[in-house]
Every structure is written in structure tokens, then in C-alpha cells.
Amino acid sequence: MSMNTIAVPKLDSVNVELVDPDTVKLKGTITKKEPAQDLDAFFKAVHREAVASRTPQVNVDVSELTFVNSSDIRLFVDWATWVKNESTHRYKLRFLTSRHITWQKTSFTALKSLMDGILSFDSSD
């Protein structure tokens, strides 16, 4: 996968990084009023690239993403839904979480139950 050409958004409260060819890392908090359009566009670009290059798995490290409001939790729901609805190449979406961060446990457990086989999550600690 070649994500090098994708523009990484610069945001106030969250640091976004492409840490290796198939891993996105998010660090900080996301509490925007409307679901963050810049992050949505970035996730969509990563999704398109993963489909185009037939990447088997995209990793999203959220282990240092300490808080996300419910409007922005939808960003992850949308991403998993894009993969679910993909007809040409369906890759695995794997989240790297922290078991010490409550929102990750509750939200990714709920999302995995709806997207089993598409989404998985593992704890990094």
C-alpha cells in the first residue's frame, strides 16, 4: 500500500500520523461540533488507497486517543461501513486500543459485534 501521497490533516486536538505503510496513528482527543470533515476525508482517502492497492489489512492505532465525542465516534462507524459495503476489495480494519480507555472498550466492542469479520481490535497494553 502507498499512503505516502495522502495529505495528513493538521488538527488542534488530535495528532494524525502515517507510521508505516498500512498504519494510521491518532493521538489526543476529537470533540468537534460536527463529525470532523477533515478526518473523514483523510479516512476516505486511506480507504480508497487500501481498496485500489488491494491491501489485506489497515491498522488504526487509537491507543493514545483518550477521548472522542459521540458525533466523532461515527467516523469509525462510517469507515467500517465503507469496508462492509465495498464490492471490489474488502480489507480488514484492525484497531489497536488501550484497555485503560473506557470509550474504546465500549465502542469497539459494539462496533465489532455489527462488523464481525471486517473489524477487529486488540489491546496494546
Binding site: S13, K33, V77, K84
Partner: protein, 165 residues
């Protein structure tokens, strides 16, 4: 998370009382104060995390629907009787939005918190353009509280989130 808690008596003095203009920019700071306050006062990081969710989501709803009039300040109260914790947010919604706020909060007890949270995720996935009521479901499940709403004579609306300490 258990949510079977009784409301705290109205006469009970609040541990926290804040009054401020309904601005989105204040929410992050007030949420983090609430987290710090709960962790420091009750000594439980788990309650502090629940407080973050409850304060963020109740204030977001209040700011989103607030009137722009001079009387539209929000109030946040945190109360406890030693067994129960209560978060109250009072706001003056714009008349056009008061009904929307009330309807978002109506019928919230129809499902148990976990089932309601899963259903909200399902709605968010099936209808990306529509409100999934994810915030309300999240407060009940992740925040471990039950919600009630009261219309007051002044046109203000008071949302109360009550849960076990």
C-alpha cells in the same frame, strides 16, 4: 454498568455549580474539570471517565439547541448523597428546538443500555445521514446513568443524569 439509582433530593446542595454562556469552546475545559473533580473527590478513575462522557454529551446537546438570548446561560450541577451521583444541565433551548431536544430524550428507557447502544451503532451504520442518538445511548451505557428531562416554568429544560457512585 448498573444504573438503578434514585434521584437525589432537590434540597441537597450541589458539590459543583457552574453557570456559563452556551459556547462549544467551553465544553472541553468543563469536561476535563468534571473528570478532575470526580477523580479527586471520589478517588475513582472509573467514575472520572464516566463523568467525562456525561458532561461532554449533555453539554453538547444543550449548546446545540440553545437560544441565543441573554438569559440562555447553561447551568451544570454535580450532586451526590454518598451512594448516588447526579449531573444536571439546565438550558434555555430555542423554541424551535425545544421539541427536538425533548423528543431526543423521550422513550430512552425502552431498551436496556447495552441493547440501546448497539442499536444506535446499527442506526449510525444504516443511516449515515440521520441522527443515531448515539450520545444519549452512550451516556446510559458508558456513563452508567439513567436520564430524565424536566420542563421548567421559565422555558428552561433540565436534563438529569443519575447513576451509582
Amino acid at each position: 454498568m448498573e444504573t438503578n439509582s434514585r434521584s437525589i433530593a432537590e434540597s441537597q446542595h450541589p458539590l459543583v455549580f457552574m453557570r456559563f454562556r452556551p459556547a462549544w469552546a467551553y465544553i472541553d475545559g468543563i469536561r476535563e474539570f468534571g473528570r478532575f473533580f470526580c477523580e479527586t473527590t471520589f478517588g475513582t478513575p472509573e467514575l472520572a471517565e464516566r463523568a467525562r462522557v456525561i458532561i461532554q454529551e449533555t453539554l453538547e446537546n444543550a449548546v446545540k439547541y440553545s437560544s441565543t438570548s441573554a438569559e440562555a446561560e447553561l447551568e451544570l450541577l454535580i450532586k451526590s448523597d454518598g451512594n448516588t451521583i447526579e449531573f444536571q444541565v439546565s438550558s434555555l433551548p430555542d423554541a424551535a428546538h425545544a421539541q427536538a431536544l425533548l423528543s431526543e430524550l423521550s422513550g430512552i428507557h425502552a431498551q436496556d443500555p447495552e441493547a440501546a447502544y448497539l442499536a444506535a451503532f446499527q442506526r449510525a451504520s444504516d443511516e449515515p445521514w440521520a441522527s443515531a442518538r448515539l450520545g444519549i445511548a452512550r451516556m446510559r451505557y458508558e456513563g452508567g446513568v439513567e436520564l430524565s428531562v424536566k420542563e421548567e416554568a421559565s422555558g428552561r429544560i433540565r436534563v438529569t443524569a443519575t447513576g451509582k457512585l
